[in-house]
Structure formats: C-alpha cells, structure tokens
C-alpha cells in the first residue's frame, strides 16, 4: 500500500503565496503592518445541545479552567484559544496540529452535551500586527475597532472584501483573521493591497 507518509504534511493554500519580505511604502521606516500566516493548527467547533449550556460551561471550567466566552469574546489559556462563534457555539483552537487529537479529546469531554465538528482544515488564519493594524482592518470590517469598543479578548464574525471572516484581537493592535480555506488566496491579495500604503512585512 503506498503510504503518503506517517505524518502527512498539511499544505496551506497560502504556501508559495505569502512570501516573506518587505513590500509597499516602507520608506526606511519600520513597516506599518506585519502579516504572517498562522501555521497549521487544530480548530474544533463546539455546539451545545439544547439546554446544555450550563453543562458545557462546566466542562470548559473543569477541563480548561476557563469560562465559556460570551458573545463577541475570546478566552485564552496557555495552549488554547476559545472564541465565541455563535449562540452556544465556540471555536476551540490549539497550535498543535496533531491530526484529530483535539477533536477526539473534546468529543470525549463533551460527549452527549455538545456536537463537535473538526474544522481544522477549513480555515486559514492570518496574523496582522503593527502600528497600522487597526487602520488596515478598518478597510474591511464595519466593526468599530476603537480601544473603547474592541480590545484584546474581543472577537467578531464579520465581512471583509466580500468574504466572511472571524476576527479576534489577541493582543493590543494584534489581530487574527480567519477565513474559509477556499477564500484564502483572494483574501490575501486584498489584505496585501490594502497594506501597501502602510508598508508591510510578511513574516
């Protein structure tokens, strides 16, 4: 039997597209925006069964010592990010990408109280940081990103450049934007064009 390999490599749709380097109006300054494609990770969506929110929250608390995020919020632990994704629905993300382990674990932990779906390959995440990160995001989303309105720990599902995105502010002026895999290249093109005036670096 031909084996691809014991640890098959995941191929990002931005491979050979997001090429490291400095672009746009850099003018001897530091780039206004830094873009990097997050390495393959594990993403699992959790949807609480009917009337099971409390139980789901309890599992989050017990297993991960975090509160199930409220609408528009994210919670972070050392290894995990949990984003609100809809009513009684969350994305759980870890950087480890060992195939299926997160899914299997959650499926067990939430068995009978939530539906668990593996989305690890369905989304591509780009990290956006730098002093113009906010200005860049504001070219796409109608969400108010002002310090008083959207800060570290906030997240939103919204639209940029006709593409639905999940946007999370992971640190001050540092965002993660996730899009469905098939849109990744188009989104990247838009993002980089919008970054030109700030000067940007792809890392």
């Amino acid at each position: 039997m031909p084996e691809i390999s014991k640890n098959p490599k995941r191929l990002s749709p931005l491979e050979n597209i997001a090429l490291p380097g400095k672009y746009g109006a850099i003018n001897n300054e530091t780039p206004g925006v830094i873009l990097s494609v997050c390495p393959a990770r594990s993403v699992v969506s959790i949807g609480a069964r009917k009337n099971m929110e409390a139980k789901v929250s309890a599992v989050f608390k017990k297993q991960y010592a975090l509160i199930a995020p409220k609408p528009g919020r994210s919670e972070y632990t050392k290894n995990l990010a949990v984003h609100w994704a809809g009513p009684e629905q969350w994305y759980v993300i870890t950087n480890s990408c060992e195939e299926g382990t997160l899914y299997d674990k959650l499926a067990k932990q939430f068995s009978g109280i939530a539906s668990i779906i593996d989305q690890s390959h369905g989304r591509v995440t780009i990290k956006v940081s730098g002093r113009n990160a906010c200005d860049l995001m504001a070219k796409g989303t109608p969400v108010d990103l002002h310090k008083n309105a959207f800060t570290k720990g906030c997240c939103a599902v919204t639209e940029m450049a006709h593409i639905t995105v999940h946007l999370a502010e992971i640190a001050d002026d540092e965002f993660e934007v996730s899009v469905f895999r098939g849109f990744a290249e188009s989104f990247w093109q838009w993002l980089t064009e919008m970054s030109l005036e700030f000067g940007y670096e792809v890392k």
Binding site: E3, L11, A25, A138, H162
Partner: protein, 984 residues
C-alpha cells in the same frame, strides 16, 4: 486678459511655481492655486462653453458648486471629464482641456445655436422631431446626442487604485468653517471621539477668505490654533479634501477622500480616492452657505462671478479677476467684496445695490448706487462695461468684472437627504436646514445664522450638546468677540426684468428666466414638474446655485409664495463621486473573491482549463498534447472513465455536518423523501423542495451515526441550503435539538469513477472495499494511505462504479497525487466538468439545467420520492392543481434522428409540421452532450407530457442558431440502462 496676480497675499506658496497646461498652452501658477485661480492670474477667464447655446463661460464660483468652468483632465486611461477648475489643485505636469466646444474654445461652431436659440426653449424636443418617424433614430437623435453632454470620458481601464474604509466616532462634524471648528473643538475638549471633515484642501471654510478677527486674533491664526489643538488630540481625526456626499439610515455617512487627486502622478502605494463609511452617534452639520447669483441679462459672461468668489480669489489666492469691478448686490455681503477689493488695491467702479433704502454698510469708500440694477452687460467673451438702470435713468459704467450677490443658499442637502424638507426663512430669504432630531444638529450658516459670532457660539453649543449626549462633560462655552458683526440684511430680487439678453438661472443646464414661466404656462406647475420639464437644478451642482432663484420665479409665475412652491428633493451625491471611489478595490479580477479548491494547484499542473462556478474555479477539462479542443479532451475523459478509471474534483459541493438527537426528524422535514430510516453507514439521494412545492436542491446525505448526518448540496446552492436550514431550525422549529455547520472547506472531495475505481482506491485504503463489504450507497470512515482519516461514499453521478473520497482539505493535494499514482497502472486520468456533465446526461441524472426553479419533483421524474407519510417543506403547495395538470412537462431524453446532427440546449421543441409559435411550443432542451458512448449528440429536455410520448419524433427548433433537427423522444437514460455498472 484682465485678471492678474496681486503683488502679495493669498494662502499660496509664491516660492514654488507650478507649470501646467490648458488647451495645449503652458501656464504657470503657484503651489496652492486651483486651476481657476491660476488661469485667472494668467488673464484667462474663458474656461468653458455652455451646454445648449455654447455661450462662452468663465468661473462663477471658487468652490465645488462650479457650473461653468468644467474641464477635462489628463489623457489616455487617466482622462477625466467634468473636473471643476475651481477646486482642481494644480501640480506640475497637469494637463487640462476645455470641453463642449469645437474646433476651439474661442471659436466654437456650436455657438451657432445661439442664432436659433429662440426655438430651443424648455421642452422644445418634446414637441418636435416626430416626423418623419424614422428620422428620430437616424437623424435627430444622433445630432442631439452629439451636441449634448459635457466632457469626453475614457473607455480604458483606470490605472489608479481606489479604496474604501470604515470609520466610527461619537461626534461627526461636517464642515470646518468657524461653526464646525467650534463644534469639533468643544466636543473634543469634552473627551468625545470626533471626526471633522471638510471638502477643502485646508480647513477654515469661509475664514479662508474673510478678514475678521476672532477674540482679538486674525481669523487665520485663530483657525491654525484650533487645528493645532485638534491635531494633538488622539480622539480627533481631521479629514480634509473629503466631502461628505450622503447621509444614510442609522446615522451613517458616506464621504469621499481625494487622497491624491491633487497630484498628477499618483503614488501607486496609495489610492487616489477613498470612500469612507462613517458611523456616528451624533452628527453636526456645519456646511455653510453658497452665494446666490442674480438673474439678469447676460449674467453668464466670463468675468461675472459670486461676490464671495471674488473675495476668495483675492484673499485666498492673491488673484484679482480683473482690473475694475462692479459689485451688484441685494444684500449686505456685496459690500464686503467692495471693501476687500479696495483693501487690496483693486479698483471698484461702483456698488449697485438693488435696495432703495439699504441699511448703512461699509463699502470702503466706493460709490454706491442704490435702488438700481444692471440692465445690460457689454462684451461677450469678456465684460467691458455695464448699463445701470435706476428709476428709469441709465448710466454706463466701465468695468471688466462683476461681483454679484443675490443672497445666500444654506447648504442644507445633508439635513434633507432623508426626506425632511428645509424651512423657508423670510428674514434671510433662504431655505434653512430643518430640525431632524437630536442625532443630527445643523449649525452656523446652514441653519441660517450668518453672523460670525453667532456661528461660533452655535458650533460650540452643538459640540457641547452632542458630546454630552454621548456621556461626556463639556466645559462651559467661552465668549466670542469678532471684529465684524454687522447684521445680514437682504431684500430679495429674483428676476431683473428690465435687463436685456438671456438671464440664466441654471448656468450649466442653460435654463433661463423665460423657461420657468413657460413651464408654468404649459401646466408643469408643480416644482418637480418644472424641474423635469426645464432641467432646472439637474446639473452637476444639483441646483445649489440655481434652485432658489428658479423657485422664486416659479412662485411669481404661479401666484404662490416660495414656501408654498417648496424645494425639489435633496439626494446623494452632495457633489459627484467617481465610480472608482465607490467601487474601491473591488474591480477587475477583484470584483468578487475567487474560491479555489484544495486540489487547485494539482489541477493547474495537469493543465486544467478552469471555469467559473459560483465563486469557485473548477477544472473544466484537462487538455493533453494533441487535443484540438475541449471536445476531444472531453471525449477522452469520458471514455477513459467509463472504460478504466477517472478522478474528478468535487470539493466545491456544499457540505453540511448535522448532529443532535433530533437530526433524523429534522432531515425528514427538510427533504421530501424519508431520512429517518436510513441506516447508519449508508448514503441516500435526497430532494429538497421550497415551501411552494418547487424543487430547491438535491444531493446525497449520509448517516454517520444515529444522531449524525453528512449532507452534500449542489455547488450553486451550498449557501442557500445552509441559510434555509438555519431558517428552519431557528425560525420554524427551534424546539429541535440539532447543531450543524458548513464544512464545505474542511474537506477535499474526490470522485473516483470507472470499472477500475475499486482497484485504485483499494491500494490506498485499508478497509475492505469489496462489493459485499462496501456496497452501493455505503458511507464510512476510512484510513487513506496509512494515516489520513477520510470518509468514503459509494455514490455515483457518472453511473460508473464510483466513490467519493473526502479527506481533510490540507491533505487534498497529497491524496489526489496518491490516487493518480495508485491508478496509474489502471489507466487513471483526471476528468473535468465537461466530462462529468456528459456522463450525467448519458445517465439521465438531473442537474442545474433541469432544476431551474420552476420544476416539480414530478417534472423531474422524481415524484415517487415525495413521501406521503410526513410533513416536510413544500408538501402542501406541491399539491396544487397546476402541478398535476395533464400535459405538464417532464424530463425526457432526446436523440437526433440523423445521428450526425447536433442539438443545442436552449432550443425549443415543436411537434413535427407545426408552425413555431408560443402556442405550439412543446418545451425546451435543458442539456446536451456529445455522448462518446452512444456515438452521437444526446439531450435532455422538458417536454409537455414527455414521458407519455416516448418514441415520438419532434422538431428541435433553434432559430437563434439556425438549426432545426428532428429528434426522437426517449428514455432519459442513454447508457447502461440497467445500472449494472453502478452496482459492480
């Protein structure tokens, strides 16, 4: 050639000269000049030609409402028509040309129209050009079209970039004149998030051309001080060269920023223009007022302009439009111009005040003639003098330019765009901004407050009120003292009947003081009808200059007051906005995003030709060396799949993961056929209807566990099906305990089809794929290539022994390559949409062509799927009479009688020897293909009573492509009728 540059003054950089061209002649101006100010400084006042009569025109204003001095800018793909010379900032290399004239601006043949101008009254074209009938399109209309219009636009793609962005604030201030600046400052000091926007290149509004002192400092210094303070405040954003063009629902404003419009060679890293969508809690409108022209004979001559525009040129640009001025006014503001000119050493021959007893005004020592009007203007391309009439006495006065003021029109547009009408204020003879609730405050001149002190106070109060409403604590409002606070007074003068020559109301659309009464006489008395009949106010200034004069004349002609006549409707755009800016980056290839499947790169390497499907790019065929066209490629791909094995990317199918205790019941409600009894590990073909009983979508759904289904939809309907399911769950049956998500992008899905499909896949998949272990319609989890967890479905669109293998998307590329490697010995080849489509037609499987949104399950031959045992979406209305009427169309096969003939989809069906007519129409061809297996063209068609007419011959009637083919109605399954291969 009368205008000239003053020795000093102006907010221009005299150190930096800028050269530019107008009509191929090179001129020079200074940094800070507009095209109009620079041309005037060079003695050029003729800048355009009128629309209808081609009369010579010069600038009337110094701002964005300019109706006359419109020019073409640039060339080639960057050519831009109808640019206002009065706002166009010059930069080195700027190329401009005049418009609407031939052969040249000075000698324009079109000016002959003036000789027939008595015919060309409002609406003349509605009464003529009707005979002979055929002449309209062949003769009259082309002439009218060539004569009409203003500038010439490019057809080439624009090389420049445009962007859009969102902005948010608590207080949006529109206009950075004294009122707006105070509003912004007060709100900012209170701690509010403020955005202040001004269309000018620099903030200051009217303070840029007025002399007043504010609290003891000059207006310029005062403005600079405030800007500096606002600039320092992190909560404030100042946008200049930015016009708020529209107000929309939810206190949302559209604004156009001209990022690089003032540069001839834009930097490609930045957009030339950017559209802002500004969301605010409170808005303060401080848009000021536009000075009104006076309506007298030949008031359109180059050299006649708004009195405030004259001040503008003198003070802002250090340019005098001429050597000797006459001021013509009916209100106090004309005097300001006289005084200003005197201060700058420009001669003023007289102030002509139409008021008999005007209040005392400071005319700077110039002779004032009261109770007088201009009754004649001398000169045609320039002004050489005037005739003044006072109580029947005539007086000649020499002058080479005229500053006129008919009063002020507040720029109420944004206050009125949501439908509230402006309010007539008799004391200033103007419509002022109405109150439209606490979210939107109008201040300063736009609200009818014309004294500077009032404007400052008004702005400050609004800033305080708005910031307070947002939860901030504004400081008490300071006291203002200004050097000029004489009251504004006006005595309206709408039409100067004593004067000779055409008196223009709307300069750009060439509407005269005669046209409006004519419209009224002919019954077009409603202000909206007058507008439409005469085109008054429909030009690029949208009536900013002309409307009130027009309304007043209409009021006079119809015996109504101006307030009774009312205004026409205010609508976006405040000033015109380019297509480019409104589209932003969504242009060309980026009009809409592209979706690429996980195996796109692989397909590309195979040389695939892609086609658009929804937003996806899908491989259409895979040309190989020697292929002449898609046709040969398709035939090879079909044959190879039917004889050996093929692989096809079906990742674009919509995929939905459905779980929960009520999943089965939910499925049963969604689909017209049953899903409750489907065994775990099995797939089933399902049909969804709309609530009106028409077929919505089809696809397979598999039961992965008791409470877990995996649904696939057609590519086109992936979104709509998901939305529909969400609606059903949330709005119809929230009691169901189900959870579902789209997993379309999570899985790469590959169809492997053909007699060798099993052999190929078995090489990669650990689990037993024998017919016994994994029969037709099986669905199970498998391990691919030793390590990848995938899902395998034994389903077939091609009619072959076939599987669809889903693997996590990032592995799609490796897996398709592995499949190709595994299948090599069995002759595997990729196949594209063309082959897929041919094979589905050969098997009579319905698809997009038949699921056209008007067909029922019966029409498609799937009536038996409709369960009678349960409720489901669409059940009730599918029972309607017409759906079951005898003779209704249904899907059948079509086979040309002459095997060499081709048929087309979209052709209609006629019974043999009947005449083509809608009555005789029997249906149409929904899909065709050349079938390599049958060896001829085959088709599917929707034909009236088709199923009962198998064997009949019909005519496939395609007049559009001149093709008339006899064909036989047949069973829609053309190949492997017993479906033996499927179950192999």
């Amino acid at each position: 050639m009368t205008g000239y540059r003053l020795a000093s003054g102006g907010l221009i950089n005299r150190e930096k000269s800028v050269s530019f061209s107008f009509d191929n002649k090179i001129y020079s101006g200074f940094e800070g000049d507009t095209l109009a100010s620079a041309l005037l400084a060079n003695g050029v006042s003729l800048m355009g030609r009128g629309f209808k009569y081609h009369r010579p025109r010069g600038p009337l204003t110094a701002g964005s409402a300019e109706p006359n001095a419109l020019v073409g800018v640039g060339h080639g793909a960057r050519r831009e028509p109808n640019v206002r010379a009065t706002t166009l900032e010059i930069s080195t290399g700027l190329v401009t040309t005049s418009q609407n004239c031939w052969p040249s601006l000075r000698f324009d043949i079109g000016a002959m129209n003036q000789t027939v101008s008595p015919f060309l009254v409002a609406g003349f074209y509605y009464k003529t050009f009707m005979w002979p009938k055929s002449f309209w399109e062949k003769v009259y209309e082309p002439i009218i079209r060539a004569a009409a219009g203003l500038g010439t636009a490019s057809h080439e793609a624009d090389p420049d970039r445009y962007e859009k962005a969102y902005a948010h604030c608590e207080v949006l201030v529109i206009g950075a004149g004294p009122s707006g600046l105070m509003a912004a400052l007060t709100a900012a000091r209170a701690g509010a998030r403020v955005i202040i926007v001004d269309e000018g290149a620099r903030p200051g509004g009217s303070l840029l051309f007025e002399d007043d002192d504010i609290n003891g400092v000059s207006a310029h210094d005062w403005t600079d001080g405030i800007i500096a303070e606002l600039d320092k405040n992190d909560n404030v954003r100042i946008f200049t060269r930015t016009t708020v063009f529209g107000r929309f629902d939810g206190n949302m404003f559209g604004a156009l920023e001209r990022v690089q419009k003032h540069l001839t060679e834009p930097d490609q890293d930045r957009p030339v223009e950017r559209t802002w969508r500004i969301f605010t809690k409170k808005a303060v409108l401080a848009s000021g007022a536009e000075e009104r022209p006076l309506v007298f004979g030949d008031n359109d001559r180059p050299g006649i302009m708004q009195a405030s525009a004259v001040r503008h040129y003198v003070k802002r640009y250090g340019v005098s439009p001429g050597k000797c001025c006459v001021v013509f006014t009916n209100n106090s503001s004309g005097y300001r111009t006289a005084k200003c000119l005197v201060d700058y050493g420009v001669k003023v021959a007289a102030v002509i005040d139409s008021r008999s007893n005007p209040p005392e005004e400071d005319a700077g020592g110039v002779k004032v003639i009261t109770g007088a009007v201009i009754s004649k203007v001398k000169g045609s391309k320039t002004v050489s003098g005037i005739l003044v009439t006072r109580e029947g006495d005539l007086e000649n006065i020499d002058c080479d330019f005229i500053a006129m003021s008919g009063g002020w029109n507040p720029n109420v547009h944004l206050a009125c765009q949501l439908g509230t009408k402006p309010v007539w204020d008799e004391t200033i003879a103007a419509f002022v901004a109405p109150e439209t609730g606490s979210d939107f405050l109008s201040v300063g001149a736009v609200a009818g407050r014309f004294s500077l002190t009032e404007c400052l106070k008004d702005g400050a109060e609004a800033g305080a009120k708005a910031s307070k409403a947002c939860g901030h604590k504004p400081k008490p409002i300071e006291h203002f003292e200004t050097s000029s606070d004489n009251l504004f007074s006006i005595e309206p003068l709408w039409n100067i009947e004593q004067s000779t020559g055409k008196a223009f109301i709307d300069f750009q659309n060439d509407v005269t003081s005669k046209d409006v009464p004519l419209a009224a006489r002919e019954g077009y008395r409603d202000v909206e009808l007058t507008k439409r009949y005469t085109t008054l106010g429909m030009a690029t200034d949208q009536g900013k200059l002309s409307n009130i004069n027009g309304l007043a004349i209409l009021a006079g002609a119809t015996g109504r007051s101006i307030a009774q006549v009312g205004t026409t409707t205010f609508r976006p755009f405040y000033t015109p906005v380019s297509f480019g800016a409104l589209a932003g980056a969504n242009r060309g290839q980026h009009f809409r995003p592209v979706r690429k499947t996980p195996v796109h790169n692989w397909a590309q390497e195979q040389g695939a030709v892609f086609v658009e499907n929804g937003l996806w790019l899908r491989a259409q065929w895979f040309p190989q060396q020697g292929d002449e066209s898609w046709f040969t490629a398709m035939k090879r791909e079909v044959k190879n799949t039917r004889e050996n094995v093929g692989v096809c990317d079906v990742s674009t199918l919509g995929k939905i993961d459905l779980q929960g205790p009520d999943a089965a019941e939910f499925m049963n409600r969604l689909y017209c056929n049953g899903f409750k009894l489907l065994q775990v590990g099995k797939a089933r073909y399902g049909l969804m209807l709309r609530e009106d009983g028409i077929v919505f979508d089809d696809g397979t759904a598999s039961r992965l566990a008791e409470d877990h289904y995996f649904i696939t939809t057609t590519t086109a309907n992936a979104g709509p099906v998901m939305t529909h399911m969400e609606f059903c769950h949330q709005a119809l049956w929230p009691e169901f305990d189900v959870q579902f998500s789209s997993v379309s992008d999570q899985w790469a899905q590959l169809a492997v089809a053909g007699p060798n499909a099993r052999k190929t896949l078995q090489k990669l998949i650990a689990e037993d794929l024998s017919n016994e272990a994994f029969p037709f319609m099986g669905a199970q989890t498998v391990t691919v290539a030793g390590s990848i967890k995938g899902r395998l479905f034994r389903i077939s669109f091609s009619g072959e022994l076939a599987y669809e293998l889903a693997v996590p998307a990032d592995y799609g590329d490796s897996v398709v390559r592995a499949i190709m490697a595994a299948g090599k010995e069995f002759g595997i080849l990729p196949y594209g949409l063309e082959a897929l489509s041919t094979m589905r037609i050969e098997k009579g499987h319905v698809a997009g062509g038949e699921l056209n949104g008007t067909t029922t399950a019966y029409d498609l031959g799937l009536g038996k799927m409709m369960s009678t045992k349960k409720d489901y979406i669409g059940r009730a209305l599918a029972a309607r009479e017409a759906f079951h009427r005898d003779g209704r169309w249904n899907v059948v096969g079509l086979l040309p009688v002459d095997k060499t003939q081709k048929i087309h989809s979209g052709a209609h069906i006629l019974n043999i020897e009947t005449k083509p007519s809608m009555k005789n129409d029997q249906g149409y061809v929904t899909a065709v293909a050349f079938s390599p297996m049958v060896g001829q063209w085959i088709g599917l068609a929707l034909i009236n009573d088709g199923t009962n007419r198998r064997g009949d011959e019909v005519e496939v009637w395609d007049a559009l492509r001149d093709s008339y083919v006899r064909a036989k109605i047949c069973d829609p399954v053309f190949y492997d009728k017993e479906h033996v291969k499927l179950h192999a």
